[in-house]
């Protein structure tokens, strides 16, 4: 009797196993990839482990709600992909999940022809339903995503529909030049997230404690393992839709270990010890790395000024919870003369010399230097001059007491906190240089580096900071700043998510962003974005400092690399291989 029970239990176990495996196999194998993309680069070798470094822990794997690069660095472009993408070298649009697209004559209807037979990493087929679902989620007011702001055309979310299984259409109320850029938005799988979204639970999905198996994308990699503070291991997505010149699936690289080390110093040492394949080199290390390049079997690449920025932002948010105790800080920060004085005290040459070791450029405008089309070089500049700064302060109603301390019009000592993210030595040094200059002006500055995620919270949800030195990843398309510059933006850092623009110039920027987006001719757009840059430079809610150059050291064993300031080393991760 006992034997029989055991036997039947085993039988049930085996049977159930067989059944489930049939189901799993059934899901994906009948999908045939009809529209692969074939790599134009030389044929590479399959296999190998790529080892790189990450500066911080992700806060979420949910790319839709992720707001910081430490999260999106993991997922975007590697796990999730958009319908279109920009080329890492030319920055032109290229097809990604859509094999082709059409824009109607009047510029309002965009039709995307999706690649047929693309599979999610779990084998389920990718279709227009997934794209529709992604748009549903972005449109949902309950989902805190900055993408929604970017998508808005004329204050309206575009209409979108599935035409057939492989065709997706978006209709916007009026011509909107940068709209194609929005289609780089990362597509998420409906079959994994639909139920959660319906249940109103989307914002809690795919947090960092999720089983990585659950996180399904179309990109070249999937998340294999995440150990907080240690590493993220990415595994090759065997179902990926790109092919090598011989017609075999790529990426070539099977395993991609991304070591989390919050210190850039450790990252540099890891590279020097031959443990990682490439490194973003800091200016200070450039000479030393260049000297050892041959011995270490790597090459040095100076890719010119980056899109990234370092700037100082003042809290001009009347909803700052700390204002109850210190209402005067709001008055200082909203005082234009005060901000101009700070702008005049930015010694950018010293910053480039001391923080960037000579490899950098001063920045004056919100459009990054390499963006030649839209950059307005004629904006108001604030060349370093403490005399001018003092003059501005005088005009702003500030005075000095006999100890040289700066007092506001009520005789209160000007004192505030200034923080930046710890671990980024360049920013820490810029912070110290800025603080030293402001102290020269008689202000009392409490400057300290704090942990990045804590800083992001202060900036985005708690709104209780005074001044933050932080950076944004810039972009080619000026409209990508529509979550930053228009007054309703989530990342409108000095006073986010306003219902009505607080000032006239903010209202004008809102307008200009609308105008710049709807104009179809590039010349017109340039005009609008020029005015926007002038306003920002005039009113300086954000005070720019210096932009580092993009410097790389890449191991010679890593092939097919083409590092750029825009795309870094990994923009063509699927084509990289290890020799």
């Amino acid at each position: 009797m006992k034997k029989l029970t055991v036997f039947s239990l085993i039988l049930i176990f085996v049977l159930s196993f067989a059944l489930t495996s049939v189901v799993v196999y059934g899901a994906g194998d009948d999908v045939e990839l009809l529209d692969p993309e074939v790599s134009q680069k030389p044929q590479g070798k399959h296999g190998g482990t790529l080892i790189t470094t990450l500066l911080g822990d992700p806060k979420t794997f949910n790319t839709i709600i992720a707001q910081e690069t430490s999260s999106t660095d993991i997922t975007d472009g590697f796990v999730f992909e958009g319908l279109v993408d920009r080329h890492g070298v030319t920055t032109e649009f290229m097809p990604e999940l859509a094999r082709d697209w059409e824009i109607s004559e009047d510029g309002t209807v965009y039709t995307f022809y999706l690649r047929r037979g693309v599979q999610w990493s779990d084998g389920v087929e990718f279709t227009a339903d997934d794209v529709v679902f992604t748009f549903d989620v972005i449109k949902d007011e309950e989902v805190p995503t900055s993408t929604r702001d970017v998508m808005m055309v004329d204050g309206e979310f575009p209409e979108y529909r599935k035409v057939d299984k492989y065709t997706f259409e978006v209709e916007i109320p009026k011509p909107f030049a940068p709209f194609l850029n929005n289609m780089t938005t990362f597509i998420i799988p409906k079959h994994k997230l639909y139920d959660a979204w319906k249940a109103g639970n989307f914002n809690n999905m795919w947090g960092i404690d999720t089983d990585p198996q659950e996180i399904v994308g179309t990109g070249p990699f999937t998340i294999g393992e995440y150990k907080p503070g240690e590493r993220v291991v990415m595994l090759r997505n065997a179902n990926h839709w790109r092919r090598d010149p011989q017609g075999r699936p790529i990426p070539y690289i099977i395993r991609w270990v991304r070591v989390i080390s919050e210190s850039q110093e450790t990252q540099a040492l890891l590279f020097e010890n031959g443990q990682t394949h490439f490194l973003g080199v800091r200016g200070i290390d450039y000479k030393r790395f260049a000297e050892d390049a041959e011995k270490g079997n790597y090459k040095m690449i100076n890719a010119g000024p980056t899109f990234s920025t370092n700037f100082l932002v003042f809290n001009m948010n009347p909803r700052n919870p700390k204002l109850e105790e210190q209402p005067w800080k709001y008055e200082w920060f909203t005082n234009l003369h005060f901000r101009r004085a700070v702008a005049y005290s930015m010694d950018k040459n010293t910053m480039i010399d001391q923080a960037l070791a000579g490899f950098g450029e001063p920045q004056w405008s919100p459009v990054s230097a390499p963006n030649k089309v839209y950059l307005n070089e004629e904006v108001k500049k604030y060349p370093y001059s403490l005399e001018d700064a003092k003059e501005e302060l005088r005009q702003g109603g500030f005075t000095w007491n006999d100890q040289g301390q700066l007092l506001d019009k009520d005789g209160r000592r000007v004192e505030f906190n200034m923080v930046t993210n710890a671990g980024n030595t360049v920013r820490e040094q810029i912070l110290n240089i800025v603080a030293a200059e402001l102290r020269e002006l008689g202000m009392k500055i409490n400057s300290t580096p704090i942990e990045f995620n804590k800083l992001v919270n202060q900036l985005l949800s708690e709104w209780d900071f005074d001044t933050i030195l932080i950076g944004l990843t810039g972009g080619v398309e000026p409209h990508s700043g529509s979550n930053v510059w228009p007054s309703h933006g989530h990342l409108h850092m000095w006073n986010p998510v306003q219902e009505e623009p607080a000032t006239e110039w903010e209202a004008r920027i809102d307008e200009l962003f609308e105008l710049g987006a709807t104009a179809t001719k590039v010349e017109d757009r340039v005009k609008y974005y020029n005015e926007f840059q002038e306003i920002i430079a005039e009113k300086i809610p954000i005070i720019y400092t210096v932009t580092p150059n993009s410097l790389f050291a890449v191991r010679n064993t890593l092939k097919n690399v083409e590092p750029t300031a825009y795309g870094g080393v990994t923009w063509n991760i699927h084509e990289l291989y290890i020799d």
Binding site: A268, I284, V419, A422, A436
Partner: protein
Amino acid sequence: MQKLDKNIKDDIDKKQTVKDKEYSIWLDTWKRMRRHKMAMIGGTIVLILYIVVIFAGFLSPYNPYKGFKKHFFHPPTKIHFFDEDGLTWPYVYETKSVDWAEYEVIKDKKYPIKFFHRGQEYVLMGLFKSDLHLIGVDQPAHLFFMGSDNYGRDLFTRILYGGRVSMFIGFVAIFITTVIGMIVGGIAGYYGGWVDNLLMRFAEVIMSIPGFYLLLALAAVLPIDISSTMRFFLIISILSFRGWAGMARVIRGMVLSIRNEDYILAAQAIGAKDKRIITKHVLPTTTTYVIVRATVSIPSYIIMESGLSFLGLGIQEPNASWGNMLSAAQNVTKITNFPWLLIPGFMIFFAVLSYNLLGDGLRDALDPKATEDY
């Protein structure tokens, strides 16, 4: 009756003091101490370090926050003692930046080193203002004895100022641990029984608080608008409120062993109050231990400060401490190209070593069993 008692006791006390003058334990210790060469050297260095950091403003050529923008990572200024005519008054040359962190010496003009040079203003011992510096040189030449850091600040000046934190912070901690440790240990040991049990279990609870996590929590909780010296002071004080437990245990053990000695029983028999017995008869026997422990643990606070600054919990820029100066050198490029940035590390090394030698000597000198040596 009571009054009579008291008189007798006072009499005894007086006799005791008379005897003390003939033979002082401190004189005895000092004599033994002087034979301990290494301890004397250590002690001298410690003493010099204290004098130097107290008079940092006067001894240093510059202000610790003054950055020479064009002279960052400047190597130590070469001081010339000889010119074409042989030995001369020491002088330096002006230097000019040619490339990134590379400097050229301009030999056009000699800048003699000046003693009692009028330079930037500083406050001496928190009392008087002065602009008189022991040593200095006229602009545009610079006098960087130990080179300059990445902001062009004089490293020598910052080492002197930074030493204040490093050298003094230990005292605060020692004071707190000692006071609490002696009181709790004394009471627990003297009374024994349930009092002892209660206090010692409490001490164990305190000891089991994990220090490192307490630090991380503190770093997150403490507001950033207090000065970093104040914050560091708070962190150290809170840590020493945790650190007294170890001290209390040892004191309690010592007290326990002498509680039944004849002189304590005698004091009790005369009718002395417990408080008096503990403070006058029991605790003084632990003095040796307390002094030695203090000298030995000050270096551990110096090291702790450098560790905390390294982690970003200690003194923050632009304030100087040996720890944060060392952590600013935490870059392989800097260590290989600008090795003078490591000098603060040597300062920590010297201070800690000297303190340990001094502590060692003191322990031997204060050891009552070592009398046969003498």
